[in-house]
Amino acid sequence: MKTYWVAYQIALQETLQRRSTLIMDRLGGFAVVVSLYAFWTALIGDKATFLGYTRPEMLTYVLALNILRSFVFTGRGWQLVGEISSGKISSYLIRPLSYHGYALALDMAQKTVHVIASFFEVGFLAWLVQGELFLPRDPATWLIFGAAVLLSSLIFFFLEFAISTFAFWTSESGGPLFCFELFLQFAAGAFFPLDVLPLGLRRVLEATPFPYMVYFPVRIFLEKVSTAEAVRMLGMEALWLAVVFTAAMTIWARGVRSYAAEGG
């Protein structure tokens, strides 16, 4: 465990060392949040609600998006693809550590910095628009939301990992990974709440793990579902995590077996 803790600390220092890159990353993400907020404000107009969201709920949804994007959608997929293609992965495979644990430690360091930055941005935007925010009244909601976000992050991590692992068989796995990440953003509700979609399409998406990464956690936070329903969602998330984790580990094990270190 100490190994991963050291890896986490080093990665944290590295992320903080590249301050200009970090600031630029955050600026870009902030621009996306501002435009989504502006669009939703234009949609809600003078109406009391839009798609069942009041103005404070809508603002909270957009701000929560910024935090969830920072915590959930930062993975190690592209690095894994690069390391397998270049052969650098060999040096990790011979070390006495789990590559998944190591990657997770690095990912957590990145998340730590980005989530802290996102809280500042959220505070700034909330102050700028002087809008009322929705905060859960039930303390249990905070707990369930926290657990849901943690599970979402792990689902994303292992799902992205599973797709990136195809780099063991082809040097072209970047394309499918790019495709997956774009589809995920829409299917997870990271641009728009899925309520906007026709019911049939929403039902199809709800049967996949994607809405569990953004849409459902935000609905839990906004207390749009009862506590019992929120707990059920949490159970489903845990189930999806188990499925995705098993798939990622199985693909990884097979990939390592077929790995010929041709890049290195």
């Binding site: 630029m24 234009a42 495709c179 728009f192």
Partner: protein, 264 residues
Amino acid sequence: MKALLTKYWRIWLRTASMAMQAQLTYRLGSFGFLLGKMIRLFFFFAFMTAVFQHVETVAGYSLVETALFFMTFNLVDMTAQILFRAVYGARRTVNEGDFDFYLVQPCSPLFRMTCSTVDFLDIVTIIPVIVMTGMVFARLPPLAWQNYAAYALLMANGVALIYAIHVLVAALAVRTQELESAIWIYRDVMFMGKFPVDVYAPAVRWALTIGVPIAVMTTFPAKALLGRLSAAWIVYAFALTAVAIPASWLFWKSSVARYTSSSS
């Protein structure tokens, strides 16, 4: 002059051909990237259409008009991506020392740095965009030819402005060997151009018109087509480009003058 243009046309054709061969070599990867781009386009369009099932107008614009803004954004953005894709690798070109070769070749290093890679995936993606734009045009009320002329000229002006930004990014790469995120910030900020600039608060609207002129690149052409852009703003758009391009060239020259070749 004709000889010079012929020379650069031949260079562009050769580099474009090489880029196409490279993309055809990686079929699975290219297919994934292509599919991802299509997903982004169609999902956004579908979401926008779905939103208009619940409202009649957004910031005073109907579905057809909002779609016009979205498609114009895509046309301008994709044209720029097709033509100036090389800038995305500018930092790597400098860091790996390839820029030294650009400097000794009998060809403008700026041309090599900005225009020597063509993204054929974007050429494929722009075809449905053109078809969808045609469908949007068909649903617009009859407009004067002057509106269409202003639309075409302002779109070309938008691409020229984007060129100036790409030159700035390339110059930054030469000057600092860092700022790899600069082009990605531009991409994220461009996201704000997906919606008509009228959805934003007045301060943001001014920032997008005067500061980072995303509105001039993406919103102005569509507004001119709809007859909602004053002559003064049209003059401003062309004047801005007339200043921005020489300014970006000056910055490029000053950056190249400081280049030490130390990275290679």
